[in-house]
Amino acid sequence: MATVVAIVEDDTDQRENYSDVLTAHGYEVRAYADRPSAEAAFDQELPDLALLDIMLGEDMDGGFDLCMQLRNLSPTIPVIFLTARDSDADRISSQRMTAWDYITKPVSLEFLVARVHALLRISEQLQTQPSNDSSVAVGSLEVNEASMLVNWKGKPVNLTLTEFWIIESLTRNPGHVRTYDALSDVTRQGLVERNTINGYIRRIRNKFRELDPNFDRIQTVHGTGYKWEQDNE
């Protein structure tokens, strides 16, 4: 049975384009133009992954409502927000609803497919056997590449896909500077401004600081990029 990806997007052209590329990559796509039709369908049958626009026509927060519904139906279903809204408030909302990823438009379809693929793989792994086999420990940090989980001092850090990729990239060579260009590639979003990277780093730091107010491992190398500071102990 083919993997089912649900797309909820009010713009027909974009919906069709997502639909086309995902279908071409072998997914079964179910596309919905508004919240009520999507809601009805989700009640009938859950997709394996949902790609949600936040603003659905006049429904300003329709995507968030759908995400809540999905979370209620299944705690593990991967949800990606794909939206033109690029505010911290929206990102925090999506985080609170444990959406797995938050992508801003315009999105490269190539990277979109990659993300969908990656998330489905993680979802699959979580459902079968959550193992720590692929865990890599960097000091107090544990990075599980298979399940894309990150623990700081034993506590899980709730990161989005992009954020995970950045942490993964920084910790792959602790103490070495990751340039903006390198980090830009890691986000898999096509053209990424320095400021966007700075934004990701800021949000990652905030998430770590929620667990550990003294967190200071991610160091800024001004004008160049960031590096992960080695544990001293």
Binding site: D13, N17, R85, D88, V107, L109, L191, N195, T220, G223
Partner: protein
């Protein structure tokens, strides 16, 4: 949105020609001065009042004159056809100055000088009271207990009998050891014979009983004849209230038409024997001049007695210019004439008023003082007027001025059987009227002054308040926008609740600012909104292109597809820079707590190395002050600021040019300057360079949204710094200066 009320952080370039606050102030009158000048116009009111009082004076004087004329004519008609009254034979010698008393009692037999006082009192009939309130004798401190005189006269064919009852607390007799005659209680008698001769008799005593009579010189000190006279006999009898004096004067001594005056002289102290008071039977100072002979007709006098008019002197003359009857005096009663202050000074306000009145008296010359100018003798003028009346037979009126004294004189002929028998002459002082008028003027002036001061104060307060409100409005309006035209606040609170025009002006300005603020906010949000709206169609194009490429692999290297992708890339970068400012503002508001200490020099050094490697076509040179420059802030944002400054310098500098990044410490601030060698700033955008959507971009292929320097400003303001742009001194090039607060090196 925050920047709407942010500090005025953009410094104006020094060479700018901005309209500063002082440029709006022009020389000229201020509202307050103008209003006060208007108040000065009120000063015409006293002039108007003065004029109207003058008019009133004229009117009143005419009225008085007419009234007096009527009286004169009335009297003359009463006296008409009474030839008997003017018969020279009925004339009696007159006792000078008994204007208000009844005439002499006529008795049949003689009165004995030694008879008890009571019998004399019976004989002379009603006694006339003379108090010390006569004009010149006793002065203001007169006490009726100390000296008062009751006096009566009787006449029989041989003699005139004078009787006095004198209240005196201390009776002082003549001391025989003393030579002087003027140092004890005494009676002085003045006789003016009808030939004009004046005789002065002093009646004095060493003990109760007979009086010694001496003929005296005019000074009442020296005796003409040392011998005591025998013709005049008199006694002095102490009684319980003081003493009584009886005097008998032979009629032949007086003759027909002579005048008689008594003065009672009071001495109270046995030792110093000074004359304390003199009470005269003739209180009219006018009558001191013995110019004319009076041949008083008793009946005539009786007739005109009731016609007494205050401050007027009525005389009836016969055709031989002899006074046949007289009543009244032009001089006002003593108390007024002495100009004495009212007994109680009264409350403070009264005193202030009195002081003011005194001041005005001094300035305007009170007519009350005019009485001093009243001549003692005006008989020459009277004679002239009478001559005219008697010869023409027509009533005549004159107004006379003696210095400040004003006199209205009217005369009317008295007819009898078709012939002029005599004339009535009335003299009345106009000074009382003038004094009244003067007083009115005074009160008016004081009232006006009070009103003037009150109005001036009120207008001063009002205009001060108005000026304050206007200047407050001006200040607030000036503060509402920065000198670059950036709106700092969108309403004016002060004074907006007032209901007057100024309040409504304030409200208009406030609502204008509010509308402007909304518009500004709309403009500031426009890039963000625009970007958001562009994202969806851009995504459509992008995803469609990708699908196209995916479905038609052979098109991957198609040049048109490539160009389309390039176009999308440019569109994306435009949109990103559009949203950068808006998202920066939002992000900064959350980063307030994430400030850290860092060394700006180190940061700049790092960044510049990065820029140099990315932009090999330019020489980017850091000229950093030795040591470190620590500041508190968000390093990411500062490097973002530096990014924008470098981007700007690259964009506007000459190709392969030199870009200098300088950091220096100035007092407790850090000055970060990025200068390029590009063309000078156009003056029209120099002030607004750091505002959104302002750019002097020349290259159409490059994106010039003018948001880069706006981000610089936002970051600098977030760090409590300021930004400025200026042309480099001496030569081409522009430098952008960011000033940031420095903290001590940790």
């Amino acid at each position: 949105m925050n920047s709407l009320v942010g500090p005025r952080s953009v410094k104006a370039p020094p060479d700018s020609t901005l309209t500063s606050g002082s440029a709006r102030i022009r020389p000229g009158l201020k509202i307050r001065t103008k209003l006060l000048l208007l108040v000065v116009l009120l000063l015409t009111i006293p002039w108007m009042g003065y004029e109207s009082v003058r008019e009133m004076e004229k009117f009143l004087l005419e009225g008085q004159e007419q009234a007096l004329e009527l009286t004169t004519q009335g009297i003359s008609s009463i006296l008409g056809n009474r030839t008997d009254l003017f018969d020279p034979g009925v004339g009696v010698p007159e006792l000078i100055g008994r204007p208000l008393t009844s005439l002499l009692a006529e008795i049949e037999g003689p009165l004995a000088v030694d008879a008890p006082p009571d019998s004399w009192a019976m004989a002379v009939g009603v006694l006339t009271h003379f108090s010390g309130s006569g004009l010149f004798e006793c002065g203001p401190d007169y006490d009726p207990e100390s000296l008062a005189v009751r006096h009566g006269l009787a006449i029989n064919p041989e003699s005139v009998f004078a009787y006095f009852e004198i209240d005196d607390d201390v009776l002082v007799f003549r001391d025989p050891a003393l030579l002087s005659l003027n140092s004890n209680d005494q009676i002085r008698m003045t006789v003016q014979r009808n030939n004009g001769e004046i005789l002065r008799y002093l009646l004095t005593a060493q003990a109760p009983g007979r009086l010694s009579v001496y003929l005296m010189r005019a000074n009442w000190k020296d005796v003409v004849d040392g011998e005591a006279l025998r013709e005049i006999a008199g006694t002095i009898d102490p009684v319980e209230f003081g003493y009584a004096v009886k005097i008998r004067i032979p009629r032949e001594l007086l003759g027909v038409g002579s005048r008689l005056k008594f003065e009672v002289v009071d001495v109270d102290d046995e030792t110093d024997r000074a004359i304390r008071r003199i009470i005269s039977t003739e209180p009219d100072p006018m009558s001191h001049a013995f110019g004319s002979v009076r041949l008083v007709t008793p009946e005539l006098a009786k007739l005109i007695q009731p016609l007494y008019i205050s401050e007027a002197n009525i005389t009836v003359w016969d055709k031989s210019y002899r006074v046949r009857a007289q009543v009244g005096s032009v001089v006002p009663p003593a108390r007024e004439a002495f100009g004495m202050a009212p007994p109680n000074p009264g409350p403070f306000f009264q005193r202030v008023e009195d002081e003011l009145i005194r001041f005005f008296d001094w300035i305007l010359r009170s007519p009350a003082r005019g009485l001093d100018d009243m001549p003692a003798d005006s008989s020459a003028e009277d004679q002239r007027l009478l001559a005219r009346v008697l010869s023409e037979g027509e009533p005549n009126t004159e107004r006379r001025r003696y210095g400040n004294a004003k006199l209205i004189v009217t005369a009317a002929p008295i007819w009898a059987q078709g012939e002029i028998e005599g004339a009535v002459l009335i003299k009345q002082s106009a000074n009382k009227l003038l004094a009244l008028q003067y007083e009115t003027l005074q009160r008016f002036t004081i009232l006006f002054l009070a009103v003037f001061i009150f109005l001036s104060l009120a207008i001063l307060i009002f205009s001060t308040r108005l000026t304050y409100r206007v200047s407050r409005l001006q200040r607030e309006t000036e503060q509402a926008a920065s000198s670059e035209g950036r709106l700092l606040k969108d309403r004016i609170r002060a004074g907006a609740r007032s209901s007057d025009e100024l309040g409504s002006l304030t409200r208009s300005i406030s609502s204008m600012l509010h509308n402007l603020g909304q518009y500004t906010r709309y403009l500031e949000k426009l890039p963000d909104t625009l970007a958001h709206e562009l994202h969806n169609p851009l995504n459509v194009v992008n995803s469609s292109l990708e699908n196209l490429q995916y479905n038609h692999r052979e098109l991957t290297d198609d040049k048109h597809l490539q160009r389309a992708r390039n176009g999308i890339g440019r569109l994306r970068s435009i949109i990103t820079s559009l949203t950068e400012a808006a998202s920066l503002k939002e992000a900064l508001s959350q980063e307030q707590e994430q400030l850290e200490r860092f060394d700006l020099c180190a940061l700049v050094q790092n960044c510049v190395e990065g820029y140099q490697s990315v932009n090999p076509g330019y020489r980017i040179v850091p000229t950093l002050a030795p040591g470190s420059a620590w500041m508190l802030g968000v390093p990411d944002r500062i490097s973002q600021l530096l990014d924008k400054l470098i981007d700007n310098a690259i964009e506007f500098g000459t190709r392969n040019g030199l870009i200098i990044v300088n950091v220096k410490r100035v007092a407790d601030e850090i000055e970060l300057t990025v200068s390029n060698d590009g063309p000078a700033l156009p003056s029209e955008i120099a002030d607004r360079l750091f505002d959104p959507m302002v750019s002097s971009g020349r290259d159409a292929r490059q994106t010039h949204l003018g948001l880069g320097l706006y981000i610089v400003r936002l970051v600098a303001e977030f760090h409590k710094g300021t930004v400025a742009a200026r042309n480099r001194r001496g030569g081409t090039g522009v430098e952008l200066v960011v000033t940031l607060p420095m903290i001590p090196t940790p």
